[in-house]
């Protein structure tokens, strides 16, 4: 048995949002928890994360040896090394304090329920209000008859209740068992597939004393830690106290998006001359992508570049300008940001109109504005447009030729282009073939996710962090 006496070092913190989501499991009304899931779904990692947040407890392993535990979960070492360890002498209950890194491990792989109960008894007597993790419970319980199993579980629950301890049963049994009915909380971990990429889901089956607003959340085991993702607002985000944008410098062959994680996702940044196609899933739209667009525009402008955009339908020019204006000086915006519309409502130095009757004229107007704004220095420029805007105004062929012309221009002058496209667009195949990178933005269980279709990439959760006063995009892979 591995014993943790005190709270854990702060550098093991997985993040405030994730911890907040798990806290209903640690409320006083929840005396016992059943953690279910098939092998490899992350049960032990979640159990350890709960132990870390709870602050003190005992981990009883009934499946693996001490060495195997260390190998499978390296964080187990630091979890227990950072706390005060207790060496338990089962013979005479005489506790001897070991060194700061010494601990006792009871291998209960070939044990029976009595051995497990005795371990729990010893633990309860020596650690105040512990969390007791039985990993896994069914490895032991399945060796007894059903009626006996229920009695033991009830006895364990009574012991935990009477000693203000919290029991956590880890189980790989997918079906309902006596434990499901007995405990105060049941969560299930699942692996799933999204477009051939791994997705992990935590399902909140039952939590006594808590209103469950979500049925499930996505999570990752990145870096050996359990990190759950809260549901993100897919509406247009408002930053309460905007701050100046802190740019990331471009590299020789790449333009930075303003986010290190996004740059890494694109293979170092937006490569000069590249065309990136961004396809939206069914339940996301421009609002979900706006922080990324804002970050890219701000970073270009703050690096002495410029930005020209034909917004998607339903996105006003004023809103786009406002998103950038919160973080970039007005003088720079007027000289470096341009927004094109087929129907112009406001007079603004940043706005210009296009001709809905002529794709060629509209294209030439864009080129003319680009030449003016890039100037003699040929400043780097990020072009972007919503394909649906062109599809609504021009024929399919005209819209595609428009896009082709933009791509050729970008390749010639060393700029970069990204096009956002709705799900089911008739141009998706043609534009995908034309693109250098094709990404998809979607939402699963309220979490915004992104992956590359071309070239292939795994799935990432997108986290918009506005804590610094401007949009900071973080990506976390699903592992």
């Amino acid at each position: 048995m591995l014993t943790v006496k005190t709270s854990i070092a702060p550098d093991l913190d997985a993040g405030p949002d994730s911890d907040e989501m798990l806290k209903p499991l640690l409320k006083s009304q929840v005396k016992s928890i059943l953690l279910k899931g098939e092998p490899g779904t992350g049960k032990t990692t979640l159990a350890l994360e709960l132990l870390r947040i709870y602050g003190s407890g005992i981990y009883v392993s009934t499946r693996v040896s001490q060495e195997q535990s260390k190998d499978h979960h390296p964080e187990l070492n630091s979890l227990f090394d950072s706390g005060e360890a207790i060496e338990i002498n089962p013979q005479d209950y005489d506790l001897k304090r070991g060194s700061s890194s010494a601990y006792s491990f009871e291998d209960l792989r070939f044990s029976n329920p009595e051995d497990v109960v005795n371990s729990v008894i010893r633990a309860i007597q020596k650690v105040k209000k512990p969390m007791i993790i039985l990993d896994s419970w069914d490895a032991i319980a399945n060796r007894t008859e059903k009626s006996e199993r229920l009695k033991v579980e009830q006895s364990l629950s009574l012991m935990a209740l009477g000693n203000e301890a919290k029991l956590l049963f880890v189980s790989e049994e997918p079906q309902l068992t006596t434990t499901d009915y007995l405990v105060d909380a049941v969560v299930t971990l699942q692996n799933d597939l999204y477009e051939g990429r791994r997705v992990r889901r935590i399902q909140w089956n039952k939590i006594r004393g808590s209103a469950m607003t979500n049925w499930s959340n996505l999570f990752t085991l990145f870096d050996g830690r359990f990190t759950a993702f809260s549901q993100q607002a897919l509406m247009w985000q408002h930053i309460a106290e905007p701050q100046p944008f802190v740019p990331i410098a471009h590299k020789e062959a790449f333009y930075s998006t303003g986010s290190d994680d996004l740059d890494a996702f694109f293979g170092g940044g937006l490569r000069k001359t590249f065309f990136v196609l961004v396809e939206f899933g069914q339940y996301v739209g421009s609002a979900a992508f706006n922080p990324v667009s804002t970050s890219i525009r701000c970073n270009f402008i703050m690096n002495d570049g410029c930005s020209i955009t034909i917004p998607s339908p339903g996105v006003s020019a004023n809103r786009i300008k406002e998103s950038v204006a919160h973080h970039v000086p007005t003088k720079l915006i007027d000289s470096s940001l341009r927004l094109a519309y087929f129907e112009l409502f406001d007079v603004d130095p940043c706005f210009f109109s296009l001709n809905a009757s002529s794709a060629k004229e509209s294209f030439d107007k864009i080129m003319s504005e680009a030449q003016k704004i890039k100037g003699a220095k040929n400043r780097p420029c990020v072009f972007s447009f919503g394909s649906e805007t062109l599809e609504n105004v021009f024929s399919r062929e005209e819209a595609f030729r428009f896009a082709q012309g933009m791509v050729q221009r970008v390749r010639h002058f060393g700029d970069v282009l990204y096009v956002v496209m709705r799900r089911g667009s008739p141009l998706v195949d043609q534009l995908s073939n034309l693109s250098d990178i094709h990404v998809k933005l979607d939402q699963i269980d309220g979490t915004i996710v992104i992956h590359r279709l071309k070239p292939w990439s795994q799935l990432f959760a997108v986290i918009y962090d506005n804590s610094q006063g401007y949009p900071k995009i973080k990506l976390m892979p699903f592992v």
């Binding site: 329920p113 005795n118 008894i121 006895s155 009574l158 012991m159 209740l161 009477g162 000693n163 203000e164």
Partner: protein, 107 residues
Amino acid sequence: MDNRSDLRLLASLDRALDVYGESMKQVIYSNLETMFGVKRESIIDNPEKFVETLDKIFGSGSGAIKKTILVHMEELTQNPEGVSSTELSNALRDASPDKARNASLKK
């Protein structure tokens, strides 16, 4: 121990603890012996130690087990909250007819 009444008493104690499972019953008896050196057969002579073992294992939840034991000993309790340690110790001591006779002889 050869007292038939005590044997019946221990049998009813076994039945009471069976409510919590064979494993739990063995755990209680083994912990009684480990903690206090009292074997199952000597519970009647050391009821306080037995009760203390229940308290150590179940904490404030021991009241439920004590109540179960008394019910199986065909003693009724009026306390809806459970049974105190003193009540159970006394009941276990008094439940043995020989103990009661010895006590009256001493008077």
